[in-house]
Subunit: 412 residues, 2 copies
């Protein structure tokens, strides 16, 4: 894509109330725009990152048998009364088509998926089932000051699983945990992400959160460095400040953001909706459920909180909006050809604008693509193109004949 | 995909208030489920169709320079007051995070895109720009009795264009019209779709709708068979029942559904938001805008209204959820192998369930994939597999060695 045509531009203007680093960087670099507190629009650059995150998650959830669906944002009050959450769910946004508020703008979808599944699940032969979606969630967050880390409207991958036994749920729960680890690894978050013990509700002793360390996080977790797990604030007192795995009492306190969660719902949602099945002995039983969430904008914000320096963002390869940034210095004809060649194999952002080299390089650093390629008199005299990784200081000269192979090796 | 694992199933149960043919067929065939009037969930089959429609539209809009973005559903009241639509837009859903209703659940996005574009458009060098999204729209429709043809929540492709002159808008407007025709052609709707003259608002004499003929349509159009265009009900009186192109007065009245629209907004939205640019003479001018919409669920419903028979749906190839339906008759081991081979090249729905042949064939017809392939003793004795197109009565026997090529020729 030619940068001269890009809809959104880098900007210096940040609204006064935007205090979070992730939103500041993403707004300045032209990835997002603030519509109101906790509500952002995604520009072409921002949407490309979100779609890459979505594709990574989709491929891992498909690999563990997930079937993608799409449920609506509008949900009837009656469903939320059945689960007794109409008056108790924190930040539930209620609305109506007329004066009466008899709808919910879904913050989650247990109230839709459970009665829907009831139409198709009758016997043990219909189990297990794994159903997920990428869908817009709405939450009436009181504070929405953390940029993409806590939005009022955001896309979530929410997966729901249906089982005939707790044992089957347990096995799938572990599978999802492993899929989540692969997801975080692909996005460059594995090192800073901890499998964290949280409250399990009525059905199981623990649920689990994936907490990613960042000073911008609103959560506090307590890390056991021996087991490489953590305990969240909610249950640390009950745990008597011990690691649930090894009993270690030397836990390290850190700030973190919850980037994923997995939860054994048990029969909490199947019972209110009479979601039952007939088991192999012919006995009617309630279906056992699990739910598993990942907020996509929050992941994007977390990546930015972790991968940045004083000059801008440093996108991990697999979520970068483009593979490389091609920059022309008064060598447009030469660069146009290079752009055409590179575009056959790579996704290229080509800065074809009439700006100074200083401005172009500053913007390239702010946007933060993994690779920068400069075509200039100097580079051509030196025998080729000047290639630099975003995280390195020094560039290298690459000959024309080695260009595709060299870039390919770095990108893949 | 093995049908035994599919989340949604065919069903005979239709809610009493569901009177539309498209929703009845789609619910019975397991593509959608009704959550409330005008609000549907998409099952794995339904979402696959929607994604194919989305991909067709995306590729055509990208081809005319569209840049994809994602704007939020939540929109501030202040923006809607600036355009004076807060109290006048029909079916606008208002809500608030607390008691006060100071938000809109977006039925369209002029109120977001215009102030957003103001951040990036300053001079003629920043024009033209073409920005679109696939995004969930909300409309407080009073009657929502036409299934997917009139939903209260649905995904729309909305494209907005920004120009320095009316001439430039006119040229792009025609380009979008051509892209729309290619979109309808790919979905098998071209023959029944008419370029229809509609009211142009304050800026131009006409806007245009794409109206697709179906008895289920809620609109009436007046067709000129000479020019192959139509006039909508809104302006037929002003037109004195004449074709706007040739003056022909013998117009044919038909029922239709509006499957797309294109509209010259002019400065209706740039003026309220001070969206201006400096032209080549250094003079500040308001940006000229156009907007272009296609509702995805409505397209899906329209396809079903047109492509069905007494046994079920007949999906056009390019929007079918799978390429072919593989049906096993007590030949599961043989069929498993065929399923594996076919899956390397095609997207196969494999009915591996323990049901009678009658039930399987009835379900296959209801679901309506373009091709059906039966593996049975009879077919194997005859030398191969029994292949039938959904729209044809007779099947043909295809030898194992010709299978991939024959199917490939039909599918592509």
């Amino acid at each position: 894509m030619k940068q001269s045509l890009l809809f959104a531009k880098t900007t210096r203007e940040i609204t006064h109330d935007e205090i979070s680093l992730n939103a500041q960087l993403l707004i300045r670099a032209g990835f997002i725009s603030k519509i109101m507190a906790g509500v952002y629009a995604l520009s072409p650059l921002g949407l490309k990152v979100l779609k890459k995150i979505e594709d990574i998650i989709r491929s891992e959830i498909n690999a563990i048998g997930g079937q993608e669906v799409l449920m609506p944002a509008l949900q009837p009050q009656t469903n939320w009364e059945k689960t007794k959450r109409w008056n108790t769910y924190d930040g539930l946004i209620k609305l109506g088509l007329n004066e009466e508020k008899n709808l919910v703008l879904g913050p989650t979808h247990e109230e839709i998926i459970a009665p829907w599944a009831k139409k198709f699940i009758f016997s043990y032969q219909d189990l297990p089932r794994y159903v997920y979606q990428f869908q817009n969630k709405f939450r009436g967050e009181k504070r929405a000051k953390s940029g993409l880390l806590r939005g009022r409207e955001f896309i979530m991958k929410d997966l729901y699983s249906f089982h005939e036994s707790e044992k089957d749920l347990d096995q799938y729960y572990d599978k999802v945990a492993e899929a989540y680890i692969r997801i975080f690894r692909k996005m460059g978050l594995e090192e800073k992400t901890y499998f964290t013990y949280a409250s399990g509700g009525t059905f199981s002793q623990y649920s689990h959160e994936f907490q990613t360390l960042t000073p911008a996080g609103e959560d506090i977790i307590y890390i056991c460095d021996k087991c490489r797990v953590a305990v969240n604030r909610e249950i640390i007192e009950d745990q008597k400040h011990r690691c649930p795995k090894c009993g270690n009492q030397e836990l390290r306190e850190e700030k973190a953001v919850e980037t994923g969660n997995i939860f054994k719902l048990g029969t909490n949602y199947s019972r209110p909706f009479d979601l039952n099945f007939v088991n192999q002995k012919g006995i009617k039983k309630p279906v056992i459920m699990g739910c598993y969430g990942i907020g996509l904008q929050r992941l994007m914000g977390t990546i930015v909180e972790i991968y940045n320096d004083e000059r801008g963002i440093l996108w991990p390869k697999k979520v970068a909006p483009f593979d490389l940034h091609l920059i022309s210095l008064n060598k447009n004809q030469e660069t146009e050809k290079t752009y055409a060649t590179l575009s056959q194999e790579f996704d290229v952002l080509y800065d074809d604008r009439d700006l100074s080299i200083g401005e172009k390089l500053a913007e390239a650093d702010l946007i933060g693509l993994p690779l920068r390629l400069i075509v200039s008199d100097r580079s051509l005299e030196a025998g080729g193109y000047e290639l630099k990784k975003r995280e390195e200081k020094e560039s290298q000269i690459i000959g024309v004949e080695d260009l595709m192979e060299t870039i390919g090796k770095i990108i893949r």
